[in-house]
Symmetry: C2
Subunit: 337 residues, 2 copies
DNA sequence: GGCGTCGCCGTAAACGTTTACGGAGAACCC
DNA sequence: GGGTTCTCCGTAAACGTTTACGGCGACGCC
């Protein structure tokens, strides 16, 4: 772990100037003899260029940061996983920030961009506030937002389409003959909670189904909350299908239905959202609305690359199409996923 | 996104030298008047220090890299998640490398440490080869290895104890009266595969159970491979319990047992390994050997912090104790996890 | 042979910090 | 009032690169 060689060390050993060393190392035109001398010296010394010094000069760090609430959440894992190869191919490193869904933490990450430790930031905010919009406008490096952002915000933007996703799920349930389709949602003051509530209502309307408030229940986005919400819902009415705002909620619903001796999917069909790894692990395997986390991550990374190569292009908005992944919790013939 | 202010800008505006600006910003003793002038100027300009320049001077990047095979793997997710708060509290950023289980990629990461883009590297190699050992010895920054490493290797080391873990699982199954305990393992040329094979054999011996080769089957570490291996095993013998080398294999085993009408846990008890999120999601919920991924991540991060503050301390080895998490796949009264 | 051209190379400045060093002035003591 | 000490501050060097600029020798041309 001794002090590593620098271009100065190489220059001395090769008997040339540091400028020549730099030129050789960067492939600029140089005489054959110099090239050889430098190459040999660099090889012998085991030279590795110092990326910090390079960054200072070039004002490029070759790093991109990604900020999300919690890396334990499968949605974000899928995004990271999909970003990784895109960035790697472009020679960029990935820095991870977990904000614990803390808005001040998110804003702090935005502010810290001024430290120039990264060339750009991909952020998936838990909720987009006024202060976020200001921070986006003042950001000292390109920002790509995963999640919706008002038109005119000077950032690139990748969106999911939970409206269409829920529509797909309800169409599927309707086609299976289900007419009393319950909805177990997350909190309405979160971005996905609010969007999914609207989407559910609209889908009912379009299918010509009645709006029955008894069929709607709200809990948090975790398994126990989903179970509790399902219990409350079953206590007052009898649905023949349950749409759940994420896969954990759906697992909770499965727990309760099983405990009450309700058959899935014969008596009640269950649909999750996000199509995480948990969906195929459940029994019966969970039909789930895939909102394209991986695709969103990949597209965000691509937008970032474009932005880094052309800083003044118009901000772009990309919407990722949802897919419905049908498994055993809605179609019994799909018994083994 | 204009060119940000530097200490030079501040110095001009405050009418002092850049040295004074730096002193104020770093809290070194300075006159009251200068402090105020600099503070005001910095505030007005919205100054944020450039971390690259600082790094060049201090040769500290405040970044730590973590290299693992695949961020999609729940084991690594748990590690990352646990490292994050430790590093964050120490003011360190986390850089993620996915190596796709490619040894050359791993070695490349090690070599690139010479670029000094990070102060240290935590790596969880898929397998530790001779070339790894050389690379560890030549690394230009501190390395912490998650996984076992021969004594004398100049790196800090965090180990799981799959031997004890499997022992715990087999004791549990034995206590439940199971005597024909099968083992569905992963490939023997991987570190965990080899270790778990030995551990299984030793546990049998210690329990005084016969070694029946018919009870052992090998596939890859994925669900379908686990299912196929289980099918092969069931075709030739009838175990009353199945120990599986990871949770995905166990899920595959559950699939096959269900398809063949074998009751779990009444006829065959099933145990997974790693205690991932999938274990409680399965039905019946999977008893699993927790090898402490989160704890290993946390300890690795802590070792890194220690190493960064005292570079010459003796390399340390930390072993994380396994735990057996009992759920419905071995004890039916635990029906709902 | 003088002159322009060209290829190669070295000097030095720059990126934005931190910090060693020394100078200027005030305060203090005798 | 001269010396010592102390506080505060500015100058400049350094971290390891990249790159603009100019010098120098070789070569070709008239």
């Amino acid at each position: 772990m001794r002090q590593g060689p620098t271009i100065t060390t190489i220059a001395e050993r090769a008997g040339v100037s540091i400028a020549s060393v730099s030129r050789v190392l960067n492939g600029l035109p140089t005489s054959e003899a110099t090239v050889r001398a430098v190459r040999v010296a660099a090889e012998e010394l085991g030279y590795v260029p110092n990326s910090v010094a390079r960054s200072l000069k070039s004002s490029r760090t070759n790093q991109v940061a990604f900020a999300m609430a919690d890396i334990g959440n499968p949605t974000y894992v899928a995004m990271v996983r999909a970003m990784q190869p895109v960035l790697k191919d472009a020679g960029l490193r990935l820095i991870l920030h977990s904000t614990d869904a803390d808005i001040d933490d998110e804003l702090d990450v935005l502010r810290r961009l001024g430290e120039r430790y990264a060339d750009g930031l991909i952020i998936s905010p838990i909720r987009v506030t006024e202060r976020h919009l200001e921070a986006f406008a003042e950001a000292r490096a390109p920002v790509v937002v995963i999640g919706s952002v008002p038109a005119g915000t000077p950032v690139d933007n990748v969106r999911a389409d939970s409206r269409t996703g829920i529509r797909l799920a309800l169409d599927h349930l309707y086609a299976l003959g289900r007419r009393r389709i319950g909805f177990v949602n997350g909190p309405l003051d979160t971005v996905p909670g609010a969007a999914r509530a609207r989407a559910y209502a609209d889908a009912l309307t379009e299918l010509g189904l009645p709006h029955d408030p008894a069929l709607i229940e709200i809990g948090d986005f975790y398994r126990e909350d989903g179970a509790a919400a399902t219990r409350r819902l079953l206590a007052r009415t009898r649905p023949d299908a349950l749409m759940c705002a994420n896969d954990l909620i759906a697992l909770g619903a499965l727990d309760v239905l099983r405990a009450e001796g309700v058959r899935v999917p014969e008596d009640v069909a269950v649909v999750g959202t996000d199509d995480t790894d948990l969906a195929p692990a459940a029994w019966p395997a969970l039909t789930s609305v895939a909102l394209g986390s991986a695709e969103r991550g990949r597209r965000a990374a691509e937008l970032m690359l474009d932005r880094l190569s052309d800083g003044d292009a118009e901000p772009r908005v990309v919407t990722v199409e949802p897919r419905l992944v049908v498994r055993g919790s809605t179609c019994s013939q799909k018994g083994i996923s």
